[in-house]
């Protein structure tokens, strides 16, 4: 296939064979189309409400390659705006976070309130002769912003479905991370940020359904004392499910028959906490979500990923077809005591994120996979996602009446297949409706 020559994308994904064309990881034209059709259309994760505890708190983030400011206005409401002065496009906020009511552009001094309104323009009378329409030159707001139990998402597409519809069944499953205990979760202060020379889809693919790579990629971490997988040895790695929640979202979970097995699967350092919170979690979430499923890894389309027990959430910001910027946070139950918070934090940072003994080895795999998608010849060979194709479970409610979504065994590439199916569907779909855009 010639680079940049495809008017349609679904032919790059062949779900009858479980094969995808590898140019989607290397073609610069496809990447530009992704910024438009994926990143300007989808609901993207910005951060957690606990990162904005006070009025006028803000942090900066990215939606695709577009920088945004996320603010808690003077009234307490949360908003998100392009971090771009409407005069010359300069970045109006140069901080990663802070507390400010106003953002002044360092170029010419246009000043915006944290609700996006343009407040002052130097020389408004003398040089603009009061003819500049202040109202239509505020910071560009996202089209829609909403949160799910404290998790803030936004989209630049005015025609996008609601966040609730976008997340669909994934929200119900997400409760297993964010709503296990009264009060939900908090994000600890501090964000790992780092650049990886890989296409952004490789880490998303890895987190959404790759339970297969663990023993090989992470053998060194496992062997040297950085345990990260549940410790139950019986049937290790093969008892559980990949669950596809639709819309390109999915996760992998081990399966516990009873309360005892829940504890057997707990990470050793969290066992006491797991036992302590089990009654509350079980009561809140019921049998399927509160006991049987022990979720491990997930991705929410397009670029949000998480590790449940490890207390880790992250976003993969695209930075060109060959580069990704990972942002990783640590989360804990709000009700968790200080000892448990400390344990989760240390577990998380020693295994996942910048110095993570698990993470480092993943990163190198994604870099090498990206490299091999660049050569002309390599690109002619498809990426194989056929694992377990004919072994999806026909009736997931036969496992448990509450089970939702499409389900397959723990070692199965169902989630990757659905990830790229969703990708192709959006790439072929209508363009986003960016409100107020004139270009």
């Amino acid at each position: 296939m010639e680079q940049g020559a495809h008017p349609h994308f679904d032919h790059l994904i062949d779900l009858t064979k479980g094969e995808i064309n590898r140019s989607i990881f290397s073609d610069p034209a496809i990447y530009q189309q992704e910024l438009k059709q994926i990143f300007a259309r989808c609901w993207l994760f910005l951060g957690h409400e606990t990162q904005l505890p006070e009025e006028n708190d803000f942090f900066t983030a990215y939606m695709g390659e577009d920088p945004v400011i996320v603010t808690r206005h003077s009234g307490g409401q949360i908003g998100a705006f392009l971090n771009m002065c409407r005069h010359r496009g300069n970045r109006v906020c140069r901080a990663d976070s802070g507390n400010q009511r106003m953002f002044t552009c360092p170029f010419h001094g246009w000043t915006f309130a944290n609700n996006g309104n343009l407040k002052t323009v130097p020389g408004y009378k003398q040089v603009y002769h009061e003819k500049l329409d202040m109202e239509s030159h505020g910071l560009v707001p996202v089209a829609q912003i909403d949160s799910y139990k404290g998790m803030i998402f936004a989209t630049f597409d005015a025609s996008a479905p609601s966040l609730e519809d976008y997340l669909g069944d994934m929200a119900w499953y997400l409760d297993m991370a964010v709503d296990r205990r009264e009060g939900g979760i908090v994000f600890l202060p501090g964000t790992h940020k780092w650049r990886i020379k890989c296409n952004w889809k490789f880490p998303v693919d890895n987190f959404i359904g790759d339970s297969y790579h663990g023993p090989v990629s992470h053998g060194s971490a496992w062997e040297s004392g950085f345990e990260g997988m549940p410790r139950r040895k019986k049937g290790y790695g093969y008892e559980g499910f990949q669950i596809n929640a639709g819309n390109g979202h999915g996760f992998g979970a081990r399966w516990a028959e009873n309360e005892e097995q829940v504890y057997e699967m707990a990470l050793p350092e969290f066992l006491a906490y797991e036992q302590d919170r089990f009654p509350e979690t079980h009561a809140r979430l019921g049998d399927l979500r509160g006991m049987h499923l022990s979720p491990m890894h997930a991705s929410i389309f397009p670029n949000f990923s998480m590790l449940w027990q490890s207390g880790n959430m992250r976003v993969w910001h695209p930075r060109g077809v060959n580069e990704t910027e990972g942002w990783s946070w640590c989360f804990v139950d709000k009700k968790a005591d200080q000892d448990h918070r400390d344990m989760v934090r240390i577990h998380d940072l020693q295994r996942h994120g910048t110095s993570g003994t698990w993470e480092q080895d993943d990163v190198d795999n994604w870099v090498q996979s990206t490299l091999s998608s660049r050569g002309y010849v390599g690109r002619q060979f498809t990426q194989n996602l056929s694992m377990g194709m004919d072994h999806e479970i026909e009736d997931p409610t036969s496992i448990h009446p509450d089970m939702r979504g499409r389900v397959a065994g723990f070692q199965n590439e169902i989630n990757q297949r659905q990830l790229y199916a969703r990708w192709a569907h959006l790439m072929d779909g209508d363009a986003p409706v960016v409100q107020g855009a004139t270009a």
Binding site: R94, G225, F226, D342, V363
Partner: protein, 170 residues
């Protein structure tokens, strides 16, 4: 005066030896320079402006790049020796350069030292990484190795790491 120079000289020699162990991949010898009550910590630096200036570093209890003790550092070293630590297989080629060594003071048998580092790393074919930053150490005199590192705070000059991971030691 001469005593202070002796301490400074001993510490700069110690740092050079430490750097050589790391660059020569002699990680067992390197971990031998750490005290059993080691605290090895690298906070995250972020961009702040206005009233936020002065709070660029995450604090204890926040997320950090490294927050390790002797056991977890020893396990990191053990991991590198498995031959399957893919991020360091083949191992990166590094040069640790340590300078601007200042002895900040001594109390209760502990010596406080601030230094600057520049680390060049070349990996695989053409990967090149440069790490720069400040180390704040607490050292304890030791009969066998001259000094043991009791407490090391590493402040990188990077808000977004341009390096793919922190798979080396600082």
């Amino acid at each position: 005066m001469s005593r202070n120079i002796d301490i400074w000289f001993s510490i700069t020699q110690f740092y050079s030896r430490e750097a050589r162990y790391l660059d020569d991949l002699e990680f067992d010898k390197w971990i031998g320079l750490m005290a059993p009550d080691l605290r090895y910590w690298m906070p995250i630096v972020s961009n702040r402006i206005g009233r936020g200036i002065g709070s660029e570093l995450t604090e204890r209890g926040h997320l950090a790049h490294f927050e390790d003790d002797f056991e977890s550092m020893r396990n990191r070293v053990k991991r590198l020796a498995t031959g399957r630590a893919w991020a360091e297989t083949p191992p990166g080629r590094t040069n640790h350069m340590v300078s601007n060594v200042e002895v900040d003071g001594q109390e209760d048998g502990l010596t406080h030292v601030t230094s600057k580092f520049l680390i060049y790393r070349s990996h695989m074919e053409t990967d090149q990484e440069v790490f720069s930053g400040t180390r704040k150490d607490v050292l304890r005199a030791d009969e066998d190795t001259d000094w043991k590192i009791v407490d090391r705070t590493i402040i990188l000059d990077h808000a977004v790491l341009t390096q793919k991971s922190l798979g080396i030691f600082f």
